[in-house]
């Protein structure tokens, strides 16, 4: 009970101490967007005969006629009341867009991460058990290949093979086949929603749409996870307590899985956290190739048309997720190894 209490206390303290960083991110993005060349009012007042009057009107509507500190103050006030502004590219409030799209990105990233871990950890262990062997080299080769091939190439290749040539995968257009009725929206995660609605067909349809993009992403992050598993397994396997365990005559499987792996997983956990947050924001290419309605492609579209509000909202979201994920990892860390505090 006291451990949980102290973890909660520390978590709270950590969270409060990350607030200045979040504020810094907000201000930095806000100023960066305004310093970057490209005027959204001009871009969006692109009617066939729009003149200076239309541009000025739009600038007033968007509040861009005010000074930057004034705009920033208004923006901070809006954030305080949960309003992230309105996107001109989709015509919707940014908050609504993010609420709509974040589950799509999270679902994809989670699946990809689980897939990657399921592949990477066994591969890393195999490589670590026989360093320098053929297996080790094969794993190294596979990882290098995964990292070297850009995601849009592997994505298009998977589409070409499994959709175009073989016809096994459904058409790569978003989270659900267009002719399937989506389950009632409860969490926004289609797999969970269809489970809650007890609709097996929809669940299967959603899962089949998910496989290719998740595999594409998993291939790309295979390397850091597998390499980290291998390195930390190697370090652990050489330590005294493993030798002791082997000397005590414990079975090889027990030594590897119970004693070595548990201790080797700590750095893998850290990397997994970082990989997760990075994947969420950086997988714009996968989202584009698979028409996945996620947050990253949303932010990119907004950035290209100098649409300030969604970009700022996206960066704030990513920063918050980074904070939360790192916090979660630290908590897990503390649970896995009580010697490590999270002060």
């Amino acid at each position: 009970m006291t451990t949980i209490g102290s973890i909660a206390r520390r978590t709270g303290r950590r969270f409060v101490s990350s607030l200045p960083a979040l504020l810094g991110v907000i201000i930095f993005t806000f100023i960066l967007m305004r310093v970057l060349p490209g005027d959204p009012a001009v871009f969006f007042a692109s009617g066939p005969n729009a003149g200076q009057a239309e541009i000025d009107d739009l600038r007033r509507q968007m509040g861009l006629d005010k000074s930057i500190p004034h705009q920033l103050a208004l923006y901070l006030r809006d954030i305080g009341s949960g309003n992230l502004g309105r996107s001109l590219t989709t015509g919707q409030p940014v908050m609504a867009d993010i609420r709509q799209r974040l589950p799509a990105s999270l679902e994809l990233t989670f699946t990809a991460l689980v897939l990657a871990l399921l592949l990477a950890v066994p591969l890393g262990i195999c490589a670590a058990m026989r360093p320098g062997s053929l297996v080790d080299h094969a794993v190294r080769f596979a990882c290098t290949l995964g990292v070297c091939v850009p995601t849009f190439v592997s994505g298009l290749l998977l589409i070409y093979t499994f959709y175009y040539l073989l016809g096994w995968a459904p058409d790569p257009t978003g989270r659900l086949d267009i002719f399937t009725t989506p389950p009632p929206r409860l969490t926004g995660f289609l797999l969970i929603d269809s489970l809650l609605a007890r609709d097996g067909d929809v669940g299967r349809a959603a899962a089949s749409q998910l496989i290719l993009p998740a595999a594409t992403m998993a291939l790309f992050v295979l390397a850091p996870l597998a390499r980290m598993t291998r390195a930390s397994m190697l370090a652990v396997l050489g330590s005294d307590y493993i030798r002791t365990a082997e000397a005590m005559g414990l079975s090889r499987a027990r030594v590897i899985i119970v004693y070595a792996l548990r201790n080797a997983l700590l750095p893998v956990l850290t990397i997994a956290g970082i990989v997760f947050s990075t994947m969420l924001g950086a997988n714009v290419l996968v989202e584009k190739v698979f028409s996945w309605p996620g947050v990253a492609s949303y932010a990119l579209d907004a950035l290209l048309s100098a649409d300030y509000a969604p970009v700022q909202g996206f960066v704030l979201l990513m920063a918050s997720i980074f904070v939360v994920v790192n916090l979660a990892i630290d908590v897990l860390y503390g649970l896995a190894d009580p010697r490590i505090g999270i002060e």
Binding site: A50, T90, G91, Q92, T173
Partner: protein
Amino acid sequence: MRTKTRFRSSLFASFVAAFAVILLSLTVQAQTRVETLRQVTGNSVNTLDPTMPGSTREAFGISMHTYDRLVSFGRKPQGNGFIFDYDKIRGELAESYTVSPDGLKLTFKLKKDAKFHDGSPVTADDVKWSMDRHVTAKSLAASQIATGSLTKPEQFTVIDPLTFEVTLEKPDRFALPNLAVVYAIIINSKLAKSKATAEDPWAQSWLKDNTAGSGAYTIETFKPGEQVVLKRNEDWKGAIDGKPAPFKRIIMQTVPEAATRASLVEKGDADMSIDLSASDVLSLESKAKLKVVSTPQFNAFTMVAFNTKMAPFDNVKVRRAIAAALPYDDMFKAAIFQRGAPLFNGTWSGAPEKSVFPQTMPFKQDLAKAKALLTEAGFPNGFDTTFSFNVGSAPISEPMAALIKEALAKIGIKVEVQKLPDAQISTLVSEKKLPFLVENSIAWLPSTDYFFRVFFNGASRWNYSSWANEEIDALTKKAQFELDPAAYEKQAKRMIALAAEEVPLILLWQPNQDAVMAPSIEGYTYWFHRQVDFRDLSRKP
């Protein structure tokens, strides 16, 4: 024994029933698929109100189906499809219209049975409210509709519930066509007014996400950035023989990756796409499994523009020199695989033979002449300049830029190529800060003087070359109100001759719009707004 038989027969019966249900559901599914049209596009619909600043072209397309306008353009066959006919204006919500002999009064008789989606009849009051909105509210509509001298609510009068009248100060040739443009939607005024607020008297924020129209389709689903699903409005009877639109359901889905769109259409999972990459169109055309309707966009053009207010392009001889130095044929091949109508290598000199615009201009590559002109202009050793294009058009503009750089190096002009993001280039263009650039533009109303008013005159962003010529200014003002066709033709030809002489910009070509569709789709029409009008389409049984 008997129970057993009964059991068996009932088992058999239930099998038959189950089988029948499966068969039936499969046919129903197949039927709905046949009656559904699925279009995939790289862009997305961002609003249901086309007059909202920032509306995408796809949003324009959707509004053609949810809203009706008073009038619409006709269409005429061309190649294996149709093109819109600017010279033939037919009623849409109007059953008929008359123009007074002096051209100052346009009177519209509304269709008696026209209904909004909520079942209420379309009246002249709705038309008046909608037109008042277009000229008053801050939206894209006002500046467009003003090109037809429609600027004040006082110009719109309700004569009786089914008669509406527009009064003009001068007989403007563009008043009637402007009532057929995308923005001139007729809105259900009672519904819209009930959603209006004190700060938003024209219900602009509500109409962004909702429709209040009388068009051929209603919105079933609207997910900005993902998809729009349209459902047929059975009360709309504007198709051939007074019937509703042929397709029951339309799905317009955003698929950002062009290669994915191509495989979707090729596999038959999607029915059509109008924005595939040129190389995919070529390969699909060679496979001959799909129907490809290629239409030169006759109301659009790709051009190279000079900033005529900036040295050295303020010197007409420099502009002429560059016009004589560009490798037109190579650019046409490399940039768009010759898929379009060329606007170079014209054979006329002095005055053009035709009064239409854009038309082929008398520019061709002649490096000796270019060199001589450049020397005459005072730049025997050339100069340095930058050439800009936007990232979005890179597949087309990048090879062009490389060829231009190479050709101009031969006459001593050093070109630095600058690739800019869309928002940045539009800012720089409207601030008139770019010396030399390539752009692609379009006029909804393809009339020679309209092109000159928008692209060759005034301070707006669309005057890419910042060209100011008093004669053009006078001619465009006059031609707008010219009712005598012979006099108009003379004025139009003079404008074209001036553009050829002064070279404020160099017309290159009109790119094709390549619509790729399932072979069963019929009736495809190229429209001024460059979107698919689904009301034209049907599926051959």
